[in-house]
């Protein structure tokens, strides 16, 4: 831990000049972001600003057109998604992508795949490795489900849970992979106010366990409450970065969200 602190100077994720294009569309262009270790960073911006694309680049679902992504002092650009999970980045999805036909417990256990090693033969023969791993992973899953108050639902099918709990289950599934960095894509979308309060507690809890959190969110109150750093994207470019107070008063941000005169398609305000 200490050595990587020294090596990376407290920066866990370094996005260097990342550009992602789809045909002629530039979704993310020349983006530079540094994310501090054990911080909560929010990425905000209007629809289509490239936030989710950025997440997809970091988690390996897209391989950026150019630029580098350095995680914990390691270049992870263009690695396969499952390798990146193993290196220590896990995520949730904007529209919940649980394994609907599997139980809550099974969903969480899937997330532990990259932290277990029993191969097919030891599973068939139920060797000691298989048994110890299974029980360790099960206990681990219960601890996480307990923390997220889902442990009474272990045998239910994920697809039948109400939306708010599905979102929480996705976080549980991401956590069991023992990430150093957790990416939450609109975790508060569709939650009611009390669920949002709970979510805030959960995210702070996660951070206090030493996990860095980056989240995309449209709920400004939630973002301003929780995050230390906010990165604002618009048309794939970073237009502002700073603490909530700075961002709130940034002229560019107000511009992007509300528009300015002369920029409002000819409609006079």
């Amino acid at each position: 831990m200490m050595s990587s602190w020294k090596k990376t100077g407290g920066i866990i994720l370094k996005i260097e000049n990342v550009t992602q294009t789809f045909g002629g569309v530039v979704a993310v262009s020349q983006l530079n972001v540094d994310v501090k270790r054990e911080s909560i960073t929010a990425v905000i911006g209007p629809n289509g600003a490239g936030k989710t694309t950025l997440f997809n680049c970091v988690t390996g679902i897209y391989s950026p057109t150019s630029g580098n992504i350095i995680f914990d002092g390691r270049d992870i650009t263009g690695r396969a998604p499952h390798e990146i999970v193993e290196i220590g980045i896990s995520r949730t999805f904007q529209n919940v992508r649980l394994f609907a036909g599997m139980t809550v417990l099974e969903n969480v256990l899937v997330g532990s795949y990259c932290r277990t090693h029993a191969n097919i033969f030891s599973s068939i023969l139920k060797t000691r490795l298989h048994r110890t791993e299974e029980s360790a992973v099960e206990t681990n899953a219960f601890e996480i489900l307990d923390m997220l108050e889902l442990s009474h639902l272990v045998n239910q099918f994920a697809g039948f849970l109400p939306y708010g709990l599905q979102r929480r289950l996705e976080i549980a599934r991401a956590l069991i992979a023992e990430p150093k960095l957790l990416l939450l894509d609109e975790p508060a979308a569709g939650l009611n106010p009390s669920e949002k309060v709970e979510l805030k507690k959960i995210v702070e809890n996660i951070r206090s366990e030493g996990i860095t959190v980056i989240l995309i969110e449209h709920d400004m109150k939630f973002v301003m409450d929780i995050s230390e750093t906010i990165v604002v994207l618009d048309y794939g470019k970073k237009i502002a970065e700073g603490n909530p107070f700075e961002v709130r008063n940034d002229a560019n941000v107000i511009d992007a969200y509300l528009g300015t005169r002369g920029h409002d398609f000819g409609v006079k305000l």
Binding site: H82, E106, S123, E149, P162, A174
Partner: protein, 334 residues
């Protein structure tokens, strides 16, 4: 927390029981009724030991196919080709060497597994219908190849007779051979299903992108499940050839593939107990309706239609598909 853990353990016990039941019942059945014969439509129907062996071998084949259809959700319409590869490997090797035939069963299994791995490596990135078409094509190519007798190896449209080998083994030996290998297949698939790899395979079926993003090496695992299906097909194919007494191209055509798919789907995709039941039921019914010759396919068509109407998720729907209601708010509170 301990309460919930206990619940899960109990569930595991129940699964075991269902499986043990199938395998205890079949030998019992044949011990009490080694030779059933009855009359149906003025024909005498002989239900001899061979039918039991056949049923067991098809149980194993259903397991092999379940690995791809049930676990990773990839429709495979050329499965019989791999059964054929196993059968022909055994037939060719026994005809060209003096070694005892059982040595060639693992060889047949590995050959089929290897061919399936090569095929899988080229086409497993395809999804759904596209993969079904490729495997269908492979099955057709395989049968055509057999009929054309490459290098004088496959005996052309006549196939390779194995009647001498068949006669050298008694009915009972073949039954226990089938029993052993079917049990091995079921046991293997069962253990895989309830392991980390099984969960990973199921997650691939549910949502491939999410699985990859959760750290599952999707392609590698798909290939693993797919080739393991080939290993099972090859090994059982070799035994099936011995049981039938020949390796013949028409035994491995599309209809054979469709029949195995039907067994798995009728029983319930993804369910081990279900597809085993589907296989046994299919073989027994086919035997009972043998006097109807080709007309029995009509009956099967009708049965399939009825099943799809009343039990669209298979005879034994896996429990995960059964419950229809959403959880009420009350259920979600502690």
């Amino acid at each position: 927390m301990i309460k919930y853990l206990k619940k899960i353990r109990e569930k595991k016990g129940k699964r075991w029981f269902a499986l043990a039941l199938i395998f205890a019942l079949l030998p019992l059945l044949h011990l009490y009724y080694p030779h059933i014969s009855f009359r149906l439509f003025d024909d005498r129907i002989d239900f001899h030991l061979g039918v039991y062996s056949l049923a067991l071998l098809y149980v194993a084949l259903a397991m092999g196919l379940n690995l791809s259809i049930g676990f990773i959700g990839m429709l495979d319409l050329g499965f019989a080709a791999f059964v054929g590869i196993g059968a022909y490997t055994l037939a060719i090797l026994t005809n060209h060497s003096t070694l005892p035939f059982w040595i060639f069963i693992p060889v047949a299994a590995l050959t089929a597994g290897f061919v399936r791995m090569v095929l899988g490596a080229t086409c497993l990135h395809l999804r759904g219908d596209y993969l079904a078409i490729v495997t269908l094509g492979f099955g057709e190519i395989f049968v055509t190849l057999l009929k054309n007798n490459p290098g004088g190896l496959t005996g052309g449209p006549d196939g390779i007779p194995l009647s001498l080998l068949r006669l050298s083994l008694s009915d009972l030996t073949r039954f226990w051979l089938a029993y052993f290998f079917a049990m091995l297949a079921v046991w293997t698939v069962y253990r895989i299903k309830f392991s980390r790899i099984g969960r990973a395979l199921e997650s691939i079926r549910e949502d491939e992108i999410a699985a990859e993003a959760m750290g599952i090496p999707v392609y590698r695992l798909k290939l693993l499940a797919y080739s393991l299906g080939g290993v099972i097909a090859g090994g059982i194919g070799a035994l099936l050839a011995v049981e039938v007494g020949s390796a013949h191209p028409s035994n491995y055509d599309f209809f054979e593939s469709a029949r195995i798919v039907a067994m798995v789907v009728v029983g319930g995709t993804g369910s081990i107990f279900g597809s085993a039941l589907g296989a046994i039921g299919f073989v027994f019914l086919l035997e009972i309706f043998r006097p109807l010759a080709e007309y029995r396919m009509l009956i099967f068509g009708a049965v399939m239609v009825l099943l799809m109407i009343y039990r669209p998720k298979g005879l034994l729907e896996t429990e995960r598909k059964r419950s229809k209601k959403k959880l009420s708010k009350l259920d979600c509170q502690k």
